[in-house]
C-alpha cells in the first residue's frame, strides 16, 4: 500500500532534515540545537514505524523495492570476444529494500537514535558538530540495513566509520583519541576484508546477461545487486556454477567450492570484527569506556548489530552450504564468546566494562542462533539483535545519567544509589534483569529461541552455552547491586551534592525503552511474525 511513496529513501535520508536545521541554528543556541536534533530523530522514528507496520507479513522476499541506476562503469570492449556485446559494464545501482529482518533493525536504529538524542543532553561542548556527526551516522546506519546492493552496503558501512571516529575522538573521556584510532583501524580492516569478499562475489556471481530474448543485442553486466547474485549462486546453470568453459577461454566466473569457502570465511572474519567475536573484541572495550555514553548507546545498540546482520544477509543467505560447513565453528565461537565474556565481566571493577563484556556474551547468543541454521535458531538470533539493542541502550542511558551526576562508574566508589535515585536504580534493575534473560522481557525470548534452535542441531553446545546464563545472572547482579544497594558512599553524602533523580528528559527514553523491552517479552509475535518470512526464505535452500 505504500509502494507509491519512496518510503525507504525518505527514511534513510530523513536525518538530512535535522542536519539542515542544525546547520542553520547558530552555535551558541545549544537548547535549540538539541530540540532540532531530537525532533529530526523523532521524524525518522515515525517514518520507520510507519514502514515497519506497513510490512506485509506473509509476502515473500523484499518489499518497498526502490531501484535507480547510479554507477555504470563502462569496461573496455575492444577484445575480440567482447566487441559483439552492446554493453559491458559494472552496474552498481542505488537499490533499497526491506524485509522482516532489515525492517525490524531499521526501526531499532530509529528508536535507539532518538533515545540517544535524548541522552545526548549531557554533552557539554560543541553541540553543532556533535549533532551533525550524530545525524550523518544515522544516515549511514539506515543505509546499511536497507541497501540491497553490495557496493551501496559497503559505502554505508564505511560511512559510519568517520562520524564514529569524530564522536569518540572529540567528546570522549580521557583516553579518547587512542580509542578513536583503535576503532578506526579495527573496523577499517574489517571492512577491507569484507570489500575483498564482495569484489570476488561481484566478479563471479555478479555476472549476468540480463537481456531476455536472444534477438536483443548482447548485454554483459557485472552487478552488485544482491538479488542477481542470489539467483546466480542458486541456479546451477548460471556462469558461477558451470565449470567447463563457455566463453572461449576458461570460465572466469566459475566459483569453485574452495573459493566459496574462502569468501564465507572472509565474511565471517570481517563481520566477526564488527560483532565482536572472541579474538577481535579488544577494540570494543576501549570504545565502551572512552566514548560518551550516548554514543556508546548507538554503538552497542546498533553498530554491533550490523556485523550480525551482514553475517545473516550475506553469509547465510548467499552461501548456505558454506554456512553449514562452518556451522560448528560458529557454534563453538559463540559458546566461547558467551563464557569468555561472562567470566571476564565477573571480575571487572568498572561498570561500563561489565556492560561491554556482557555485550560480547550476548552477541555469543546471536552466533549460537546463527550456528543452529534452523528457523528457530535464526529467529532467536534476529530477536536477540533487537532485544540486546534495546537493553544495552537502556543500560547505557542510565550509565550516562549516573556519570553525569557522580562522574564515575567504578563499582567500589558507588553504592546505595537506590536511596538517592529510586527511579533510576529501579530502571537499572529492570535493565539488568532484562539482560540476564528474565522471562516477561525480550532477553528471555531471544535466549529461549536461540538455545531451542541450537539444541536441535548441536545439543552439547546448547547445554554448555546454557551454563553461561548462570554466570550472566552472577555478574549482572554483582554489578547492579554494587551500584544500587548498600550504603551511599560518604563522598556523596556530606558535601551536600544532593543526587537528584532522573529529570523528565532522562525519564522519557528510559520508560520508552523499558516499554518496548516488556512488550517484546510479553507479546513477542509482534516481532516474530515479520521475521518469520525473512528467515524461512533464507533457509529455503538448505531445508532449514
Amino acid at each position: 500500500m505504500l509502494d507509491n511513496i519512496p518510503i525507504l529513501t525518505l527514511l534513510t535520508f530523513s536525518p538530512l532534515l535535522g542536519i539542515i536545521a542544525v546547520l542553520l541554528i547558530p552555535k551558541e543556541m545549544g537548547h535549540w540545537l538539541k530540540t532540532a536534533a531530537i525532533v529530526s530523530t523523532l521524524v525518522s522514528l515515525v517514518l520507520a514505524g510507519w514502514m515497519f507496520i506497513g510490512l506485509d507479513h506473509d509476502l515473500e522476499g523484499m518489499q518497498y523495492e526502490e531501484k535507480a541506476t547510479w554507477i555504470e562503469i563502462a569496461l573496455n570492449q575492444e577484445a575480440p570476444n567482447l566487441n559483439a556485446a552492446e554493453k559491458l559494464i559494472y552496474q552498481f545501482n542505488y537499490s533499497l529494500g526491506a524485509d522482516g529482518l532489515s525492517g525490524a533493525l531499521a526501526f531499532l536504529t530509529a528508536l535507539i537514535s532518538s533515545m540517544a538524542a535524548f541522552a545526548s543532553v549531557h554533552i557539554k561542548k560543541r553541540w553543532k558538530t556533535f549533532y551533525l556527526w550524530f545525524l550523518i551516522l544515522q544516515i549511514g546506519m539506515f543505509g546499511v540495513f536497507l541497501s540491497r546492493d553490495l557496493f551501496l552496503f559497503f559505502l554505508f558501512f564505511e560511512a559510519t566509520l568517520i562520524p564514529m571516529f569524530f564522536l569518540i575522538g572529540i567528546w570522549g573521556f580521557s583516553d579518547r583519541e587512542k580509542a578513536a584510532n583503535k576503532f578506526l583501524i579495527y573496523n577499517g580492516i574489517g571492512s577491507a576484508i569484507m570489500l575483498i569478499a564482495f569484489l570476488m562475489l561481484i566478479n563471479t556471481a555478479g555476472f549476468s546477461t540480463p537481456q531476455e530474448d536472444p534477438t536483443q543485442p548482447l548485454q554483459l553486466i557485472y552487478s552488485g545487486d544482491v538479488g542477481t547474485i542470489y539467483q546466480n549462486l542458486q541456479d546451477p546453470g548460471s556462469y558461477a556454477n558451470v565449470h567447463h568453459d563457455r566463453v572461449g577461454t576458461a570460465n572466469p566466473f566459475y566459483m569453485g567450492l574452495a573459493m566459496k569457502e574462502w569468501i564465507f570465511l572472509m565474511l565471517l572474519i570481517a563481520f566477526g570484527i564488527k560483532l565482536p567475536i572472541f579474538p577481535f573484541h579488544t577494540w570494543m572495550l576501549k570504545v565502551h569506556i572512552e566514548a560518551p555514553p550516548s554514543v556508546v548507546m548507538i554503538h552497542s545498540g546498533i553498530l554491533l548489530k550490523m556485523g550480525a546482520y551482514g553475517l545473516l544477509r550475506f553469509g547465510v543467505e548467499l552461501l548456505p552450504e558454506q554456512a553449514q560447513t562452518f556451522a560448528l565453528l560458529i557454534g563453538i565461537v559463540g559458546v566461547v564468546n558467551i563464557l569468555y565474556g561472562a567470566v571476564l565481566a565477573l571480575v571487572q571493577k568498572e561498570f561500563r566494562l561489565i556492560l561491554a563484556y556482557s555485550s560480547i556474551s550476548h552477541m555469543g547468543i546471536v552466533l549460537l542462533g546463527i550456528a543452529a541454521l534452523n528457523v528457530t535458531g535464526l529467529q532467536g538470533a534476529a530477536f536477540q539483535l533487537v532485544s540486546h539493542g534495546l537493553i544495552s541502550a537502556l543500560l547505557f542511558l542510565i550509565v550516562g545519567s549516573i556519570i553525569e551526576r557522580t562522574n564515575t562508574t567504578e563499582l567500589n566508589r558507588l553504592g546505595g544509589l537506590a536511596k538517592a535515585m529510586p527511579f533510576m536504580s529501579g530502571m537499572l534493575l529492570v535493565g539488568g534483569l532484562a539482560s540476564l534473560g528474565l522471562p516477561g522481557m525480550s532477553g528471555f525470548v531471544s535466549e529461549f529461541l536461540a538455545f531451542l534452535g541450537l539444541f536441535e542441531t548441536m545439543p552439547v553446545l546448547a547445554i554448555v552455552g546454557a551454563l553461561g546464563i548462570i554466570i550472566t545472572a552472577v555478574y549482572v547482579l554483582r554489578g547492579v547491586l554494587a551500584i544500587t544497594y548498600g550504603q551511599l558512599p560518604e563522598k556523596f553524602q556530606e558535601d551536600g551534592t544532593v543526587l537528584r533523580d532522573a529529570r523528565l528528559t532522562e525519564a522519557i527514553p528510559m520508560i520508552v525503552l523499558t516499554a518496548f523491552i516488556v512488550l517484546l517479552g510479553i507479546y513477542p509475535s509482534v516481532l516474530s511474525e515479520p521475521l518469520h518470512h525473512a528467515l524461512s526464505s533464507m533457509l529455503a535452500r538448505i531445508g532449514g
Binding site: 563502462a74 567482447l82 584510532n181 575483498i196 566463453v247 576458461a250
Partner: protein, 507 residues
C-alpha cells in the same frame, strides 16, 4: 626508408606543444626586458593563460581527430603521436601544472626565491617535456621529453638559492636523477641493440621472435629501464630521494613533482610495458610473466614501505612524500594486473585514480601552504585547531584527507575501488589484499591530521586568513574530489568512449 619530413601542414597537430614553447620564450624575454619593480605575478598570470590555451588545443584535438575509425595521427615515423592516450594525459599534465601555478601566487617572495619571473615560466618547459614523453612512440623522442622534464625540475627544486636545505635537496636530486637517466639510457641501448630499431612497434615485433640466447639482454634492458622509471615514480626500492627533495623544494614545486612528473613517468612505463614487452618470450623463459611479476612486487613493496614509514611522521611535507610513495604503489597496481579475459580497462583505472590523486594531492599541498605560512613551520602541528581558526579550510582539508585515505564518497575511494575491481577480476587476490590492508593502515596517519584539526583546541584561537589562491585551489580540488566520488559514470564513460586500445595505445 621513405623520406620523413615534417611539413608545415603537420604543425596544426602540434598546437598544444607549440603554444607552450612560444609562451616560454616570450615570457623569458619579457622577464629580461621588464624593469625590476614590475610585479612578477603578472608573469604567473600569463603562464596560466598559456597553459589554458594549450589545454584548449588539446580538447580540440580530442574532438577533431577522434571518431570511431579515426587512425591516430603520427609524425616522423611514430616518433610523435597525437592519439587519445597522449591527449588524455596532456590534459592531466596541463591541469596539474595549472593548479600548481595557481596555488603558488602569493608564496613567491623575494627573500627566498630571488628570480621570481623565472619561477613561473619554468613550469612551461617542464609541462612540455612531460607532454612530449607521453605522446612519443619512439625511444629517442621519449628520452628527450624525459630529460627536458627532469632537468627543468632539477632547476625548479634548486630555485630557493639562499635556503641551504633547498640547495642540498636540489643537488641530491641532480645526482640521483643523473644516475637514473644513465640507467634508462643503458637499458635503452640494450633494447636498441637487440632489436635494431627504436620504434616501439617494430621493437615488439622483433622481441617476439628473439632467439633465446638474447633473452638475457632483454631482461637486462627491462631491469635497467625499470630502475630509472621507478626512480622517477619514487616507488619502493628507489624511493629514498623523495622525502628529502619534497621537504627541500618550494611547496608548489613539490606538488608538481609529486603529481605531474610522477604521472608522466607512470604513463611512460605503461606505454613501454604494454607496447614493447607485451607477451615477449616463450614458455620456458616467460619474460612477460616475470616482468609483470616484478611490477607487482615493486607495487606491493612501495605500498607497504610508504605507508609504514609515514606512520610516525610529523613533518607534513615528508608525510605527503611517503604517502606519495604509497600512492605510486597504488598506481602501479593497474599496470601489474595485466589484461584478463574480460578485463581490458587497465588504462581507465590508472587514469581515474591518477586524476583523483592529482586533485587530492595538490589540494593537500595548497592547504599546507596556507597553514604553514601562518604557523611558520611545516610540522603537522601547524594544523592545530584549524576547525576553530578557519572552518571552511578545515572542511576542505577533511574532504581531501578522506580522499587520500580512500574513504567513501570521495574520488580517491572510487579510484581505489575501481582498481580493486579490475585486480580481483584478474584473480590477483594477494595484490588486492595488500592494497586494501595498507590503505587501512594509512587511516592512522591521515586521521592524525584530522586529529590535529578537530581535537586540539589549545591552538592560538585568532582567525587564520589563507591566501585567496590557496583557498581557491583547495576548494577546486575538494569540489572535484567530491564530484569524482559521487558521479564517476560520466568521466569513465567519456574515457571509454574516446579511448580505444588498438588505435590510441598500441603503436
Amino acid at each position: 626508408m621513405q623520406m620523413m619530413q615534417l611539413a608545415f601542414a603537420d604543425l596544426r597537430y602540434l598546437g598544444p606543444e607549440l603554444t607552450l614553447v612560444i609562451a616560454a620564450i616570450l615570457l623569458s624575454l619579457l622577464d629580461l626586458v621588464v624593469p625590476r619593480r614590475f610585479n612578477r605575478s603578472w608573469l604567473g598570470g600569463l603562464t596560466l593563460l598559456s597553459l589554458a590555451v594549450s589545454a584548449v588545443f588539446v580538447v580540440i584535438a580530442m574532438r577533431m581527430y577522434n571518431g570511431a575509425d579515426a587512425e591516430a595521427i603520427q609524425l616522423l615515423a611514430q616518433s610523435y603521436r597525437v592519439d587519445d592516450f597522449g591527449n588524455l594525459l596532456k590534459l592531466f599534465i596541463l591541469t596539474g601544472t595549472f593548479l600548481t601555478v595557481l596555488m603558488s601566487f602569493g608564496t613567491v617572495k623575494d627573500e627566498d626565491i630571488p628570480h621570481q619571473g623565472e619561477y613561473y615560466y619554468l613550469f612551461l618547459p617542464a609541462a612540455l617535456g612531460a607532454m612530449v614523453m607521453v605522446s612519443s612512440g619512439d625511444l629517442i623522442t621519449l628520452f628527450v621529453g624525459l630529460e627536458l622534464l627532469s632537468i627543468t625540475s632539477y632547476i625548479m627544486v634548486g630555485l630557493k638559492k639562499n635556503d641551504q636545505k633547498s640547495n642540498e635537496s636540489a643537488f641530491k636530486y641532480v645526482v640521483l636523477g643523473g644516475i637514473s637517466t644513465a640507467f634508462i639510457l643503458y637499458g635503452m641501448s640494450f633494447l636498441y641493440g637487440v632489436t635494431g630499431t627504436t620504434n616501439m612497434a617494430a621493437m615488439n615485433a622483433e622481441l617476439r621472435f628473439i632467439d633465446p640466447s638474447m633473452s638475457g639482454l632483454v631482461y637486462m634492458s627491462f631491469f635497467l629501464m625499470l630502475a630509472g622509471f621507478a626512480f622517477k615514480i619514487a616507488s619502493a626500492p628507489f624511493h629514498a630521494w623523495a622525502p628529502d627533495v619534497y621537504q627541500g623544494a618550494h611547496t608548489p614545486v613539490t606538488a608538481f613533482l609529486a603529481v605531474v612528473s610522477k604521472g608522466a613517468a607512470l604513463a611512460l612505463l605503461f606505454r613501454i610495458l604494454y607496447n614493447v614487452y607485451f607477451n615477449v618470450g616463450d614458455s620456458d623463459t616467460p619474460i612477460h610473466d616475470d616482468l609483470f611479476l616484478i611490477i607487482a612486487i615493486i607495487a606491493a613493496a612501495s605500498m607497504i614501505l610508504g605507508n609504514a614509514m609515514a606512520l610516525k611522521q610529523h613533518n607534513m611535507k615528508r608525510l605527503l612524500a611517503y604517502s606519495g610513495i604509497a600512492n605510486a604503489g597504488y598506481l602501479l597496481v593497474p599496470l601489474a594486473a595485466e589484461f584478463g579475459p574480460m578485463h581490458y580497462s587497465n588504462f581507465t583505472e590508472l587514469y581515474y585514480y591518477l586524476a583523483a590523486y592529482l586533485f587530492m594531492n595538490i589540494g593537500a599541498f595548497a592547504a599546507l601552504i596556507a597553514v604553514s605560512r601562518s604557523a611558520g613551520h611545516e610540522e603537522m602541528s601547524a594544523f592545530d585547531g584549524l576547525y576553530y581558526r578557519n572552518p571552511a579550510l578545515a572542511a576542505g582539508m577533511v574532504i581531501l584527507v578522506l580522499s587520500l585515505a580512500g574513504l567513501p564518497i570521495t574520488g580517491g575511494f572510487f579510484g581505489k575501488f575501481y582498481i580493486l575491481l579490475g585486480t580481483v577480476a584478474v584473480a590477483k587476490y594477494w595484490l588486492a589484499a595488500i592494497m586494501i590492508i595498507t590503505s587501512v593502515i594509512s587511516f592512522y596517519y591521515y586521521f592524525g591530521i584530522i586529529r590535529q584539526m578537530f581535537m586540539r583546541s589549545h591552538a592560538p584561537s585568532e582567525r587564520l586568513h589563507a591566501g585567496w589562491a590557496q583557498q581557491l585551489t583547495v576548494w577546486i580540488c575538494a569540489g572535484a574530489t567530491i564530484l569524482m566520488g559521487i558521479f564517476p559514470k560520466p568521466i569513465i564513460g567519456y574515457i571509454e568512449q574516446i579511448f580505444h586500445l588498438t588505435v590510441d595505445f598500441f603503436i
